[in-house]
């Protein structure tokens, strides 16, 4: 076994701001403790936002009326009866919003799970196996990364007749086109974990490769996996909204994207019916922000340097070197 340390492709090859661009914390962290970020206001706000949107999408449809009920009070503003007003055809915007939020969350989750699984398969297995497998898998993910995603999705959607374009098609297409960047990040992390002593020890002890991957490597990748999952959920929800807005979304489901599509086609903004157009975007923004804040907290596990110096537990023990770790200058 070689102890040679293959550097993960170098910073050069990673997308900006990707986690994994810096050395992972040395020393072994045990699985779940490593995934649990320290409790910060940032994390609290993030989780709060995500929970609020999730509850809204989960419980909202149970409490709300039928979103498709048509009334003859088209485009009326918010009132006591209709908190968020009505659409062109008098449908209640709030009722629609609950249903659409649920639809978007579903698609986001499914795509997130699928894309993360795919990226873990390609990234972790490639990074661990090395050699030709790694070359092939890297090439595959790099090619997927440079082929422009949305045009590809549009072309695929264009060939699928609208009546056959269900939410599963959309999920599949988004997952298949959205796993590549996560795979690269995971590969880089796998490379660095692979060479740690306890992994070498497990290999010498004759553990089977899949066991080494599952028991020794994956737990160490959990923070990265979690952050990539969160990232792909956000990306999926945004992409789905974009596709639906272009009229290429799922035909059988209602999402925040389709809602915006109908609002735009009903000239909601031109008719000053902001209550129809603004809320779906705000929900996406709230969810995206919440998940991004959660991700920032995850990043701080992956890359402790991003923490505010001196606030966390990492400084005192390293007193001798920490002049290097702090950033704010006393001279400034």
């Amino acid at each position: 076994m070689t102890t040679q340390l293959p550097l993960p492709d170098g910073l050069a090859d990673l997308p900006p701001g990707a986690p994994g661009t810096t050395a992972p914390p040395s020393g072994r962290r045990t699985g779940w403790r490593a995934v649990l970020p320290t409790w910060t206001p940032k994390l609290a706000i993030g989780l709060g936002l995500v929970a609020a949107v999730a509850l809204f999408g989960l419980l909202g449809p149970l409490l709300a009326g039928d979103p498709n009920t048509i009334r003859n009070i088209g485009l009326t503003g918010p009132s006591g009866d209709h908190w968020l007003g009505t659409t062109q055809t008098g449908q209640d915007v709030l009722d629609q919003l609950t249903r659409a939020t649920r639809g978007s969350l579903q698609i986001g989750l499914f795509v997130g799970v699928l894309a993360t699984a795919l990226s873990a398969l390609v990234g972790v297995v490639g990074g661990y196996a090395g050699g030709l497998v790694d070359e092939a898998f890297s090439l595959l993910s790099n090619v997927m990364l440079v082929i422009p995603g949305l045009p590809l999705v549009i072309v695929i959607s264009g060939f699928v007749p609208a009546e056959q374009r269900g939410s599963w098609t959309v999920v599949l297409v988004l997952a298949l086109t959205g796993w590549a960047s996560a795979a690269r990040v995971l590969r880089a992390q796998t490379l660095s974990v692979r060479n740690r002593d306890y992994v070498a020890a497990a290999k010498v002890a004759g553990e089977k490769p899949w066991r080494v991957i599952c028991v020794e490597i994956l737990p160490n990748l959990l923070p990265v996996l979690a952050s990539q999952f969160v990232f792909s959920v956000v990306a999926a929800i945004l992409s789905e909204a974009g596709l639906s807005f272009l009229g290429l979304g799922a035909s059988n489901s209602s999402t925040l994207g389709t809602m915006l599509y109908f609002a735009q086609n009903g000239f909601a903004l031109q008719r000053d019916a902001w209550w129809w157009f603004v809320p779906p975007g705000l929900i996406i923004a709230a969810l995206g922000c919440g998940l991004a804040l959660v991700n920032l907290s995850l990043d701080e596990i992956i890359n402790p340097r991003l923490r505010r110096p001196g606030r966390r537990r990492n400084t005192p023990e390293k007193a001798d070197r920490s002049p290097n770790h702090a950033v704010r200058s006393t001279a400034a």
Partner: protein, 315 residues
């Protein structure tokens, strides 16, 4: 100091004892945080002109923090809570380093006190040439110099440390660890400083290269007369190199004496521990470096183990 008779190794205090160049008095450095950590406690040291002062201790004992605080390179959350650092300039002026304003501090750095970091690691900017990083110093501190003068000075210092001046066009990754360290030393020499702080300058290098560089430091010190604060965890190395040694433990200086006394009569148990924990590199301590330094007469002891000098070290 070249006019002086170099003191024999057995004689106590350092050369030029009457003329200190750097005085640290009751310095305290703390790290602010959830729990305040006292990294440097009531440290008092005097560095004399031309002296090599060794600062020994294990990692985390606060020796680097102390060295950085002297040049005010420490950063928040590190903070000097009390004490003074005074620089006694060649022309007789005293500078209170902790009271310098930003611009004064910037001018002071490198021109009077330069530093040598672990060049073998990451102390050189990876994306610009050695020349650019050398000339950087001159364009900032000596704006009057012409391009030719700058170029000539860079070549001169590289030559001084035994690096072929043509190598100045290289990027750091094209140089070996030893070469990078020599470049770092050359850079530290550029402005003819009075004090040089060396933070583990030879730690990442193999023994042979390490020797060549230590010899070079001694020779340059003898020729140019700057004082050195040499920081390392390697006490035996300091015994060979330093005039005086301060041993640090958990932020405090537990022993501070001439190398000779410290070696023969260590008083603090920690010093004794440190002395015992390192196997002697050369068989007999104090032999191989001092023996070849031009200004130091051979120390008592067996013949120097003068291995073939690394190619770049001859001059």
């Amino acid at each position: 100091m070249t006019t002086h008779n170099p003191p024999p190794r057995t004689a106590p205090p350092a050369p030029d004892a009457a003329r200190p160049v750097l005085t640290v008095r009751d310095l305290n450095v703390v790290y602010r945080g959830d729990r305040t950590v006292h990294a440097v406690k009531d440290v008092s040291l005097t560095l004399h002109r031309g002296e090599i002062l060794g600062l020994a201790g294990e990692s985390g004992c606060g020796k680097s923090t102390l060295a950085y605080a002297v040049n005010r390179l420490h950063e928040w959350p590190a903070e000097v809570s009390s004490g003074t650092v005074t620089f006694h300039d060649r022309d007789g002026h005293d500078l209170d380093l902790l009271a310098l304003r930003d611009e004064e501090l910037r001018r002071f750095r490198w021109s009077k006190l330069s530093m040598v970091f672990q060049g073998a690691m990451n102390a050189l900017n990876p994306v610009t040439t050695v020349r650019a990083q050398l000339e950087d110093v001159l364009t900032t501190h000596r704006p009057g110099m012409s391009k030719q003068q700058r170029r000539a000075r860079c070549a001169e210092v590289l030559d001084l440390v035994g690096v072929e001046p043509g190598r100045m066009h290289s990027y750091p990754h094209e140089l070996s660890g030893g070469m990078r360290q020599r470049v770092m030393i050359a850079m530290a020499l550029l402005l003819d400083p009075q004090v040089m702080i060396m933070d583990e300058p030879t730690t990442a290098l193999d023994v042979l290269v390490q020797r060549g560089i230590l010899r070079e430091i001694l020779r340059l010190r003898d020729e140019l007369g700057f004082a050195v604060v040499f920081i390392t965890h390697d006490l035996p190395l300091l015994l060979e190199l330093s005039d005086r040694i301060a041993v640090m433990l958990r932020g405090e200086i537990v022993e501070y004496d001439t190398a000779e006394t410290l070696y023969r009569h260590p008083r603090h148990p920690y010093t004794r521990q440190l002395l015992e924990s390192f196997p002697s590199l050369t068989g007999e301590r104090g032999a191989f470096l001092r023996a070849t330094g031009p200004a130091s007469p051979p120390a008592a002891g067996p013949a120097p183990h003068d291995q073939a000098r690394p190619a770049g070290s001859t001059r």
